[in-house]
């Protein structure tokens, strides 16, 4: 899953955006002078973002444009390269291997995201309520899996799931039974669900926790005076007030899960073949490009996945729009 952590820091402020708005600039005596100043400011502004802009163009926009260009051509092993327009895209959306992968990540998101949200929300609410030293320790422990690099985490789970070395096997052998292999064809969905939840729930917990910390405590006092129980405070005040954080998490999780790659790619070699080369759209694109030498079609698959992600996020934003506006 590819979610960028840097955006989170600004989150606690999102509930109180007016504080951040700069005061309107004072009026200037003459029009021409203000124009000049504005122009100079604009130039300075561009200078400031120039380093970022260059990197952004060189490592994001240019590769994207190049991939888009590649995706418009078709190259066969036996034939040369030819311009084929949108043919690759038509092929992609009728390619059973791609559609199978898309269906998997969609199903996976539908189960994973509610589970992840429930776990992280519950943990955040409990930790927000408690102020003991144990709570601070638990917060760190719940967050820790996120600090473990995804690759290492996946490798670790590979060993934990191992039918020979894994603790599951030892546990079951006490009762003379054999443990289920959590990466078998039928179980791999749940095996991966567990790995991803473990990896990300702590991170989402911190986001929600930070949002909870930003709530004005006088609201709680007012609620108590009105006779609200702790449960009512949690469900009627805390959760609605962090709903913008929840929406943010949902979008992160949705984008990350639709682009699912690292965990299945790493667990693939120990999964006895249940993680196929077309397991998720991203793995399929990777294998098309670097295994089968089909860079053009792989680019088309990548853009097709982008289209799917865009549609999914749009549907989601549309669905949550009304609710969000009611709350704020």
């Amino acid at each position: 899953m590819a979610v960028h952590g840097s955006t989170v820091t600004s989150l606690p402020h999102t509930s109180t955006p007016d504080k951040l708005n700069p005061t309107p600039p004072p009026e200037h005596r003459t029009r021409s002078r203000s124009d000049k100043m504005n122009a100079r400011r604009a130039r300075t502004g561009w200078l400031f973002i120039a380093p970022f802009g260059l990197v952004f163009v060189a490592f994001l926009l240019a590769p994207l444009a190049y991939a888009l260009y590649l995706s418009l051509f078709t190259k066969g092993l036996a034939t040369g390269t030819r311009f084929s327009g949108l043919e690759n895209y038509l092929h992609a959306f009728s390619d059973p291997q791609f559609l199978k992968g898309v269906w998997f990540v969609v199903r996976f998101s539908l189960v994973l995201i509610p589970v992840q949200m429930a776990v992280s929300l519950a943990a955040a609410l409990v930790l927000d309520h408690l102020t003991t030293r144990l709570a601070r320790f638990s917060r760190l422990m719940i967050f820790l899996p996120y600090a473990v690099p995804a690759v290492i985490g996946a490798l670790m789970w590979g060993f934990l799931y191992s039918p020979i070395f894994g603790p599951l096997q030892q546990l079951f052998s006490l009762f003379h039974a054999s443990a289920p292999f959590l990466l078998s064809q039928d179980n791999v969905f749940y095996g991966l669900l567990n790995v991803v939840t473990w990896q990300w729930a702590g991170y989402y917990m911190i986001i929600i926790y930070a949002a909870l910390q930003g709530i004005d405590p006088t609201l709680y006092e007012a609620a108590k005076i009105d006779g609200a129980s702790e449960r009512q405070v949690a469900f009627r005040i805390k959760i609605p007030l962090v709903s913008s954080a929840l929406v943010l998490i949902l979008i992160f999780a949705l984008i990350g899960t639709l682009q699912f790659f690292s965990e299945p790619q790493i667990l693939g070699p120990v999964a006895n073949g249940s993680i196929t080369p077309d397991f998720t759209p991203n793995i399929y694109a990777f294998n098309l490009a670097f295994g089968y030498a089909q860079f053009n079609y792989a680019s088309a698959i990548s853009f097709s996945l982008g289209i799917v992600v865009f549609i999914a996020v749009y549907i989601f934003m549309f669905a949550t729009r009304k609710k969000g506006s009611n709350l704020s």
């Binding site: 604009a42 034939t79 073949g273 670097f290 030498a293």
Partner: protein, 450 residues
Amino acid sequence: MNKKAIASAVSAAALAATMAGCSGGGDAASAGSNTTNCTNKIVHADAPKVSVWAWYPNMATVVDNFNNSHTDVQVCWTVAGQGGPEYAKFQTAIQAGKGAPDVIMLEADQLTGFELQNALVDLSKYGAGDVKKNFSAGSWKDVSQGDSVYAIPVDGGPMAMIYRKDVLDKYGIKPPTTWAEYETAAQKVKDAGGPAFGDLGSNVPAALTALMAQKGAVPFTYDLADQKNISIHLDSQPAKDVLNYWAGLVKKGLVATQDQFTTDYISGMIGGKYATYISAAWAPGYLTGSGVGKGNEKGTFAAAPLPQWDPSNPVSVNWGGSTFAVTSQAGDQKLAAEVAKGLYADDTSLTDGWKTQTIFPLNQNVLKSEAFTNNAVDFFGGQTANKDIYIPAENAYKGFSYSPFSVYYYAQLQTETVKINAGKVSGDEAATELQGIMVNYAKSQGFTVN
């Protein structure tokens, strides 16, 4: 964003794109000269260097042997992955037009695909014929297309049956010589509560293909001289028979379905979880390296000829085996060809290779040498396995015609094997599906399928 800003952003993007374009074209001339990060020590610093990608377990020794004995050229060696990961990097380098090494280790089944992409140099013009006499006609055929030679063979993989003496003795079974006997023996061990008799790992599609070829299947017929035509017969009766046979063993619970070369498989080998291992001559080296056949299990393994379908007409097959090829990106093709011919071709290296059983050498001088023939193999408890099993198997090997899209084919066969192992398809169904998928793929790649 004002207009001027947009304009400057656009021009910056254009500039970046041009810069990317320039570096792509400009560096191509010096491609292949990336010899700064060597895994090995360069002995003669002044000599020109040739970069090599290879993953032989004893490659460090081999490279040192080469560099110590050559003053005119030095090898700069890197491990770019073992098998698949290396091919992926090479494929990327081909697409990029730079980044490939001068000399690359490739398995024989990968050559056709890279030859078709013009990624390999025809070595016949650089004196490949000089070393032809060192190899059998069959192994030379595997690296040639007509008069062109695209690689120098190093090792082969004649297949045999490795088995646990202790397990077979315990259940009073003699090593099976036919596949029918193999199944009977497997049933007997299972009835007596014994371990799995063998294993159908989904991640060794090359081995399964070899077993299909043993029954007479010819999955692909392809000739580089006739680039656009290919024959695909994956649903032929012999192919179906072999897949049905293994699907049957899986269904009856006679063999395991564990992927091979995994930690779980290795530890199963150590614990005697698999009575036999249908594998190639290089397998013991990899097993020993992982700690199999050591300690109190020393000498529990033995080798027997590969079980046959028709004992009156035995067929030998091959799994794996590698070669050194020169890439078209090589800075100095002539020098690179010298390395391809000379690397892992000296007696010291070859002896080190076969003694550790990490390679089964194809060099005739070694195959015919007294030391190799009569070697009492440690892993097999002193059995003279070379003379009794592997050399006859190698001599009887007739060669194989590989497809130009091995990676794709293996991925599809792997997927079908997983389905067989899960009991979701029969051997017949797997063969039919495989045929359909491969024919479609070949057509989409512009081939005419006959």
